[in-house]
Symmetry: D2
Subunit: 435 residues, 4 copies
Amino acid sequence: MEYFPEVKKVSFEGKDSKNPLTFKYYDPDRLILGKKMKDHLRFAVAYWHTLKGVGSDMFGAGSWKRPWETVSDPMRRAEETLYAAFEFFTKLGVDYYCFHDRDIAPEGQNFSESCKNLDYIVKVARKLQNDSGIKLLWGTANCFSNPRYTHGAGTNPDPKVFAYACAQVKHAMEATQELGGENYVFWGGREGYETLLNTNYALEQELFARFLQMAVDYKRELGFDGTLLIEPKPKEPTKHQYDFDSATVLGFLRQYNLQDEFKLNIEANHATLAGHTFQHELTVAAAAGALGSVDANTGDMLLGWDTDQFPTNIYDAVYAMLVIQQAGGFTTGGLNFDAKARRGSVDGLDLFYGHIAAMDTFARGLLIAVKIIEDSMLEQFIADRYAGYNSGFGAKVLAGKADFRQAEVLVTANEEPVPASGRQEYLENLINSYI
Amino acid sequence: MEYFPEVKKVSFEGKDSKNPLTFKYYDPDRLILGKKMKDHLRFAVAYWHTLKGVGSDMFGAGSWKRPWETVSDPMRRAEETLYAAFEFFTKLGVDYYCFHDRDIAPEGQNFSESCKNLDYIVKVARKLQNDSGIKLLWGTANCFSNPRYTHGAGTNPDPKVFAYACAQVKHAMEATQELGGENYVFWGGREGYETLLNTNYALEQELFARFLQMAVDYKRELGFDGTLLIEPKPKEPTKHQYDFDSATVLGFLRQYNLQDEFKLNIEANHATLAGHTFQHELTVAAAAGALGSVDANTGDMLLGWDTDQFPTNIYDAVYAMLVIQQAGGFTTGGLNFDAKARRGSVDGLDLFYGHIAAMDTFARGLLIAVKIIEDSMLEQFIADRYAGYNSGFGAKVLAGKADFRQAEVLVTANEEPVPASGRQEYLENLINSYI
Amino acid sequence: MEYFPEVKKVSFEGKDSKNPLTFKYYDPDRLILGKKMKDHLRFAVAYWHTLKGVGSDMFGAGSWKRPWETVSDPMRRAEETLYAAFEFFTKLGVDYYCFHDRDIAPEGQNFSESCKNLDYIVKVARKLQNDSGIKLLWGTANCFSNPRYTHGAGTNPDPKVFAYACAQVKHAMEATQELGGENYVFWGGREGYETLLNTNYALEQELFARFLQMAVDYKRELGFDGTLLIEPKPKEPTKHQYDFDSATVLGFLRQYNLQDEFKLNIEANHATLAGHTFQHELTVAAAAGALGSVDANTGDMLLGWDTDQFPTNIYDAVYAMLVIQQAGGFTTGGLNFDAKARRGSVDGLDLFYGHIAAMDTFARGLLIAVKIIEDSMLEQFIADRYAGYNSGFGAKVLAGKADFRQAEVLVTANEEPVPASGRQEYLENLINSYI
Amino acid sequence: MEYFPEVKKVSFEGKDSKNPLTFKYYDPDRLILGKKMKDHLRFAVAYWHTLKGVGSDMFGAGSWKRPWETVSDPMRRAEETLYAAFEFFTKLGVDYYCFHDRDIAPEGQNFSESCKNLDYIVKVARKLQNDSGIKLLWGTANCFSNPRYTHGAGTNPDPKVFAYACAQVKHAMEATQELGGENYVFWGGREGYETLLNTNYALEQELFARFLQMAVDYKRELGFDGTLLIEPKPKEPTKHQYDFDSATVLGFLRQYNLQDEFKLNIEANHATLAGHTFQHELTVAAAAGALGSVDANTGDMLLGWDTDQFPTNIYDAVYAMLVIQQAGGFTTGGLNFDAKARRGSVDGLDLFYGHIAAMDTFARGLLIAVKIIEDSMLEQFIADRYAGYNSGFGAKVLAGKADFRQAEVLVTANEEPVPASGRQEYLENLINSYI
């Protein structure tokens, strides 16, 4: 069955095209700095939102009627959904997808049945990947939807649930490896607390570190050579999530000596929920050499929950691509659209519109960022601003050879320092001149 | 001159007193768990707000007319202000105060003159401390108000300003030592950025670590044996401050191997600006063994800036005192009222009302927290909730002896785990029963 | 079947009781200012959360297993749920409940069947009300969950959906009348927009006014003599709801000459989502003579969505009861607990704990508010503060007889006015002295 | 004296210019829809930020050294500042400016002296306007900075202060008329409350209405034919401002029958502080026929105070210009840059960079908005979406001829309505295609 008969193949037609089912900027094979655009951007579709989303929210039932959801047998439905998925990926022209174990295969009556279900579907997916050339950017385990995880997975007060999370991650990591996944992601949807009144914070931190260490151990045993990623988010579904933001996760990893084992998967909407810009979170991760992958979406700055909208803001894309390019670009990571069509975007066609808008926005972001980098006016401005640290007392400071007494001598001898302009308005206008 | 003639000495009269210039709960010498109430609470007055505040805001000039501010010569004014301060401390019955260098002594024409000014005032303060028995909880350097620090102090793009901050901190640390200060605080009011467009984030992080290391080195050289404290704050005055919250600071300290040299000074209003509860920030610091001292105030949850109000919410005080008591109480730290009367509270009398309200609130918080701890119903609830980790697989996890394979075996053998109630509503009602 | 066998009847035992299934403050027949406590408070249970809630959130399935939900036939399940409800109301000792049409009876295959379902259940409810003496505080129509209302009900771009909302409200109003409901509530869960890009704002405002006018007309025709209430909420589920807050709704009603037909149903959590305190929203409504009823719950000030928690904060209850008492108390309105147990509070028992905590909190709020009012220190403070308007130019201003020229003459003659202290800290401490 | 010798005249050079002191988009005399660009945009400089700002914030002293501030005599300084202002306006090529009375002339020892000061400066300004052709967009009175207004101006508990505000507004309105101001603005910086504990909300509302009515009366008497504008802001400096947002102000005006006397001055940063988009506030004002003028700036969505940044976001400008154009464009209003350079933008040159960035952004916004309107794809989409109201039951609803019974008949006869897609993602991409 063809699930999206109204769409053939989305192709690049350039910025003057009036056809909304084409790319105006995303030209996958165009060479940018010697690399294909698609290899810079490494776009991925999020299976959960795009294939499994139904358009529900806390105040209303699903408004989207997907034909692949009409099959009544769960395993047959899962299989049909995979066919719909690969039809969508192919027509859209995306190279990667991402999933949770429970997205692609239904949970069974017990753990063994759940594993069996997943194994079967992985085989189907393997074949579809081979046939289409589409690859798995990352896999993960959904350890947050089932009520057993109400009080956490790797931080659950009940070791039976902790064990369940271990077993589930083990199997999801195996599935990811089987499908050639380039990364395995940890998003701890229930790793946090609802109230400190009933929580042993220190113990839960300890448990979480143990959980991650066990995952690292098993990764070695399994021989999985993808990257392990942690995805920060400050709140929702819990009142306070432990992986609050990049800095918190990096600090936690250092505390438990796990900093060499994990990189970060930065999500734009999670950044802003934590009170940071997307660019900030990417910068923090990049400065630590831990920028692994990106969940490219956008939140609504006036709403306090994870709206997971398709990213269509050119500024966000430019700033993100600047950081990513300056950090050397993606290795195993990519741009995963962890985004859902609005509840009112009820048609299958809206899935295309959303992805096209997002892909064009990031393609444009890449083109602009590369132009800014090539022109080097921004880079030069910053280099000049800190030039004082290239010599003298400044250089000593960076070399760890300065002390307070030297500083005092200098200050007593120097004139009062006068601040140079930071030129924010000029720089914002400079960026606008590239858009 | 007597600056507060309308107040004699604020004394404890018990909760039925109708006199607003008495304590209803704060009974300094009352023994609680074998320790005097005042030694549990270690209240301090913040010199900047209480003595130097003028009731201005971004939209209006100072509305408070303080008699000690009428002296025209800056050094004479500084001295008179000290007399007013000690009159206030004594009448209020507080044991500690805290200051920035520029609060107690005016900045001079150049660095040497500023040092001379500070040295002179420190002598006066030394005498007043000796005469009154009032002590210095902590000192600090104001490296944020002077325009030279516009772009940062220990993270300034100009090494001349970096050096200035070093020299100023050196001198402020010496003043703190001279006055027997029990702690020295770093609040990096300009350590952050306005826009990433002009900022080398990684370099500024590096600079900040160097700056702190130099402070540690000088502390050793000086023989200052107080505690070094860092005070997290997420934003304001900069758009993004590097010491965002406890977790960020702890991670930073670990990254640069400074974790044994610094503890945290947690401020309630900064906690909520960062998206956390006051209790959360205290808990994070305590779990890391880094709970040093507290800036006891409150923000307004509907306003997005540091309102620095006097803390009068009993819940906040109870939760704070629970964490502080469970962490073993203060050693060198205390409860500093980093709080200012509202702009409309124009009288000197309002300074008393504000501090009395805050001291009674925290005294009450202490009494309630101790009762909760003695009853141990809350503690027992939590112990029971995590009891599974005392034996079996749970104990193995904590001992670092568990792995994913063992977990899988268990899960396959076990029944589906059923979540026990977290009982949040019951626990909230339990807390209410103590109030 | 007995659904809550672990609970007999929750009774008042006073504040020293250690039994968590008793009231410590709520003593229904105690006379306060000549009126029974229960008649001051008029507590109601929210059918949707308490009977129909399943403990799900956007990231997870229901964690609560309610025995009445196990019946497979929808109509039988609805009937069993009613029995469970009345058992709960009776054991809890609450006098009122509130419902949406779709809470108590399932939606049918078409509109006629939905009406038939509702009519049948209304008969059962009528009998249970008669047998128990429990009354309906208000009814309403759920015009937001069904996908047909995706783009709004009374503001839908499609007149067919607008008509559906009309018909559904008509029937729900009839059911409310049949059950002796004292109010009928409008909460416009989808009356708002997702993006202005696809929205004719002015037309939707017009439609909404027409919709409400038609409801007023039908109320007259039906002879329903309860109060019509509008419940403000600023956002969620839509990005921007038209009934943003009290001031917005009151302005809208005035614009369309509907101000005499509607009062407001103020919800605490909606107040804070709109950037106001609960007390503010109550005050705005009361000042307009439009304080109809209250949805008593609490949000989490650090979370950006409607958490609908049980209200357990004593301050909130005191401030709310102060406004309500000063406005003359409830007439047809009451305190409806639009609150749900946390997802982790998985037991039926938690429903009792939540309601008991909330009822005791508001009973305490009432007792404290009445004491504050009787002492009149707060009232007197305010009266003194504005006393200048009782005579002279101030009185002329209020009488509409002053003009700018008179003011200028006065100012030129007067000394510079000096602000008196607003005494915020003193007043906060005064409130604490009553708690 | 020439205050900005580094700048000659900022001229239009087109988008490929590399000179940062030129316009890339703002081409004042270019005809757009038959009207000059400058007459569409009506740009104004805000005197307070640009001439009187010193780069201070709550944590630091002014970092900007303006040569015109070095004159020690206040009146001479005021005069020099005016010369600097008109040099700036002229070199920038802006047609309007806006002021508060206390910006352009210093407050005197008493009211009479303040009036005299203002009168003198108004004469100088009159001449400078005549010489340069630059006009006054609006004037206003600063009734918030002086401590006398601590507890409000037109809502002050002390009628002496109320009278002062009346007299000051009277004189400021006269000055505005004298200078040919096209509007007079009310921004009630202290009209609100700090705590409801000391506030008679209902009385303060009444006072504020009286104050505005007196202003209307005096406007008539004076024969001032400009537009009276109210500027909404939700908070800051007070905890809660009465003119919270557009809907609140419009409701207030209707309540006191003032709706025909005032229009709104919408500020972007105030919109977002109130939880709305800039576009939303403009749309609400426009729908009420009350879109008077605009304070064009931007806030920082992650910061909770009025940052008053120069508006450089193209999306914001496009959406604003769409609403303004669709509302018929400005009549007496314009785009006033109520924006200040960042504290770190210490040079006079940064004032140019900020304004150039903002003017180019809005010029671009105008060009894009006009293109979108001319293409009419967006307009057509909306027209189609609501087409159902052009006939049948929909038309009856709008004509006020429909009732619930008719609706019920229709619904019973109709099939279940199916929602059409709202196409948000498609529309966002459509907007991007114009940028």
